[in-house]
């Protein structure tokens, strides 16, 4: 009973095995990929393990506070594909091992040639809000 984020991004991980960019796949290959992702989410829901999944627009804006009474400063986008966060899925599973297993399945989504992309997904545990029993020192 722990929540994990499966984060699909391109920061720091080695390249995927099958890393042909999506715009060079066939339309059928794209459809197969989308179908795989939808099926994966549907299966997780049927298992009672799905929490959330979202895709993100590739371009974002950087924003920061600029002092009292002034509008926030915006900057960017600094769109570089190596910094892109493509999306995430949140799962609620019984063990770390199960989370790894599911991330592995998601990474097998088909890409060019209908072959698994083998892309790296980052698996991050959620911090929980309130411990109940443990007294701290």
């Amino acid at each position: 009973m722990a929540k994990y984020l499966l984060l699909k991004h391109y920061r720091g991980a080695p390249a995927a095995v099958n890393d042909v960019p999506m715009d060079r796949w066939t339309p059928e290959e794209i459809s197969a990929h989308v179908q795989y992702m939808n099926d994966f989410a549907a299966r997780l829901e049927a298992n009672g393990e799905f929490v959330d999944g979202q895709a993100l627009a590739p371009e974002g804006t950087f924003v920061r506070y600029d002092g009292e009474g002034r509008p926030p400063v915006t900057d960017g986008p600094f769109a570089e594909t190596k910094d892109l966060i493509a999306g995430w899925m949140v799962i609620d599973v019984d063990s770390y091992e199960r989370a790894v297993e599911l991330a592995g399945e998601l990474s097998a989504a088909p890409g060019a040639g209908g072959k698994p992309i083998h892309e790296w997904l980052e698996l991050r545990p959620f911090l929980t809000a309130s411990p109940n029993v443990a007294d701290c020192h």
């Binding site: 009973m1 829901e45 009672g48 019984d94 809000a129 309130s130 109940n132 007294d135």
Partner: protein
């Protein structure tokens, strides 16, 4: 309307339907429907016999569903048969239900969800909110769990230990959503203790009551953790503590020690001290030794190292710690605490920072970061 009374009747009503021959999964749905109907109807028309009312409505609901489900002939046949009284149950219906919902074939999260619904009478939505997952996900988790245990037959008592683990998981989850899971776990454990005479059930109930008694003092209003030694003991719930101690003493007198009784004994020794300084750490170390014999859990030995540090001094605690695997969760936090007690503030600060990085939850991480910041500030000044 008394929602707790309604929910406390849930396992009895479900047990009666199952004994009459309804299959578990369908009966459980029927009981849920009857609960919802009760919430609607009872405020205006309170029944004279709430349990009888629920059995009648749930059984009618079950028959309606069976009729609608023509493919399921077995249930169709039941329509013609007057419900057989059935053999006198070997095991109490309520108890069977606990065993079924905590069956070893279920994963922990499924067992927890099913127990809360079928035994606790909570709705799927309430359970989903409590565990911060979508209602559809929780509905699937529960219906899969029901299918998994639907055909389990109970000719004998199941394993109490599996039930206790599930209830303890519920208790540990804390409080999110509109259901107080800790209070619910206590209610379910109390109900179990009424159905079966078992010292470990009593031990778990005592343990929960003791932890719960300290709840108000364990965090500040903004959620900041307050260490045990700094808690305002005047805010501990002395009524719960007295009840827990009585339950625990009766259990211990049976001389069938188990891990929950031992943990409760440790919690009781903390509760017994009027000030942190008066804590009987020597006896706490002895209980940790018992607990280590019973469970062989590395977490127990980690907590034991803290107790040794209090009983025999920080050096002794560090020596006990040195025998353990330093990759254990919370190892760095314990090491930091003992090094601070030993006067090595630089090492303690570094370890608190490391412990914060590894903390499994936000409140603990903030607490440990604050400890590191406190020591770093003191060292600069």
């Amino acid at each position: 309307m008394d929602e707790l009374l309604l929910r406390s009747l849930t396992p009895k009503v479900l047990g009666i339907l199952v004994r009459r021959g309804a299959d578990f999964a369908a009966a459980e749905d029927a009981v849920q429907d009857a609960l919802i109907e009760a919430v609607r109807v009872w405020p205006a028309e309170p029944p004279r016999d709430p349990k009888g009312w629920l059995v009648t409505v749930a059984w009618r609901r079950f028959l309606d569903m069976a009729r609608a489900d023509a493919a399921r002939r077995r249930r169709e046949e039941l329509l013609d048969a007057e419900p057989a009284p059935g053999p006198a149950p070997e095991v109490d219906d309520t108890l069977q239900l606990y065993f079924r919902c905590a069956h070893p074939s279920l994963t922990p999260s499924s067992a927890v969800a099913l127990t809360l619904r079928a035994v606790g009478g909570l709705t799927t939505r309430q359970i989903a909110r409590a565990y911060l997952v979508p209602e559809a996900t929780m509905a699937q988790r529960i219906s899969r769990a029901k299918r998994t245990v639907s055909d389990v037959r109970f000719d004998q008592t199941g394993d109490v230990a599996t039930v206790l683990r599930v209830l303890y998981l519920v208790f540990n989850e804390g409080y999110s959503g509109d259901v107080d899971l800790a209070a619910e776990a206590i209610r379910l454990t109390r109900q179990l203790a009424a159905a079966i005479d078992h010292p470990e059930v009593a031990g778990l109930l005592a343990l929960m009551l003791l932890h719960h008694a300290r709840r108000a003092s364990r965090t500040t209003a903004d959620g900041t953790l307050v260490p045990l030694a700094e808690q305002d003991r005047g805010r501990w719930d002395s009524g719960s503590i007295a009840e827990a101690v009585e339950i625990l003493q009766a259990a211990l007198a049976r001389d069938r020690l188990g891990e929950f009784q031992a943990q409760a004994a440790i919690a009781a020794l903390h509760a017994d001290a009027l000030t942190a300084e008066e804590t009987d750490w020597v006896q706490i170390v002895e209980w940790y030794d018992e607990l280590a014999r019973l469970t062989d859990s590395p977490v127990v030995r980690l907590n034991r190292a803290v107790a040794v540090g209090e009983a025999d001094g920080a050096r002794a605690g560090l020596a006990a710690l040195a025998e353990l695997d330093d990759t254990l969760p919370r190892y760095a936090a314990v090491a930091a605490y003992l090094h601070e007690r030993d006067g090595d503030l630089a090492t303690a600060a570094r370890l608190y920072t490391e412990a914060a990085r590894q903390a499994p939850n936000l409140a603990e991480r903030d607490h440990l970061t604050r400890q590191a910041a406190r020591l770093n500030t003191r060292r600069r000044s």
